[in-house]
Symmetry: C2
Subunit: 170 residues, 2 copies
């Protein structure tokens, strides 16, 4: 099965993200707004059972932390993806690092850019138009994150939560 690890940011940020995703993100219906912490990886049930205690340990050793969003950015020219840029604090960068630890399944394929996708798979014209408008807009979102989620993918491409890991809890 395919698994991934993500943060669902507090409702307020999800609602802002969805106001754009609804129009510009074809994955809108597949998963709530999220910060991907570990990209999709294949794993057997048994590997996940082994992984869960490691994830608990990682969560337990952390404390809730703030995320801050001030603007949108984009992955162009690689893809026409537009995202809410999550400020890359040491804490979130360190959490990502731990989730690619050697005891855990799933290999890193690119460097970590904390973000919440709000538009993707746009045509070039649509991309220029939407990005042109959004990059002028300031955002002022600051919220506390206190958990992350291990998810698995269904046959239709959507994601279901397998387990929640609460920061600072055993």
């Amino acid at each position: 099965m395919k698994y991934g690890i993500a943060i669902f940011p507090p409702k307020k940020i999800q609602d802002v993200a969805n106001s754009y995703r609804k129009r510009y993100d074809p994955h809108y219906a597949l998963i709530p707004p999220h910060i991907t912490l570990k990209d999709p990886f294949e794993a057997e049930d048994s590997e996940i059972k082994e992984m869960v205690p490691h994830l608990k340990e990682i969560a337990k050793e952390m404390q809730p932390f703030e995320i801050e969003i001030n603007k949108v950015s984009s992955f162009t020219p690689i893809t026409n993806t537009i995202y809410l840029k999550v400020e890359p604090t040491d804490i979130i960068m360190g959490l990502n690092e731990k989730l690619y630890g050697e005891h855990l399944p799933g290999e890193r394929e690119h460097s970590f850019v904390p973000h919440i996708t709000i538009a993707q798979k746009l045509s070039d014209d649509e991309y220029s138009d939407v990005y042109g408008t959004l990059r002028m807009k300031g955002f002022d979102l600051k919220e506390t994150v206190d958990r992350f989620q291990l998810l698995y993918q269904l046959d239709n491409g959507s994601w279901t939560v397998y387990e929640t890991f609460v920061l600072g809890e055993g």
Copy 2:
């Protein structure tokens, strides 16, 4: 915020449910296939923080249990909802009972019928057609459930998982 409690059944059952939901359930994109254990209720953050330890206790005192689906059924004439009927074992009925305990927010509004909705808001003609076909079909799904989820609703009507409660765990 509005909260609810549900079981996401194992992937195999979710994939079967989605094969119907995709065509017949307008809530297809709002939440993965689920067995509602506690209907949506309003609660403050503080009430949820108080509720979580109770839910942990309820989960801890249980063990993983089997669910069995042999056929579809319907809520007609109340609504044109068609669902996979989850056999109402003592275990799942007892779990529902505990989730309406007096220390927890949210009042019971109707008796508990364990089910996974696969079609709703159909026209009468569509309903007759779909139900006529599906009720002739046997299902033979038996899987183990080992967790339930506390979810909250976003402004667009979709649901995000707040926390997972694993049965038999502290």
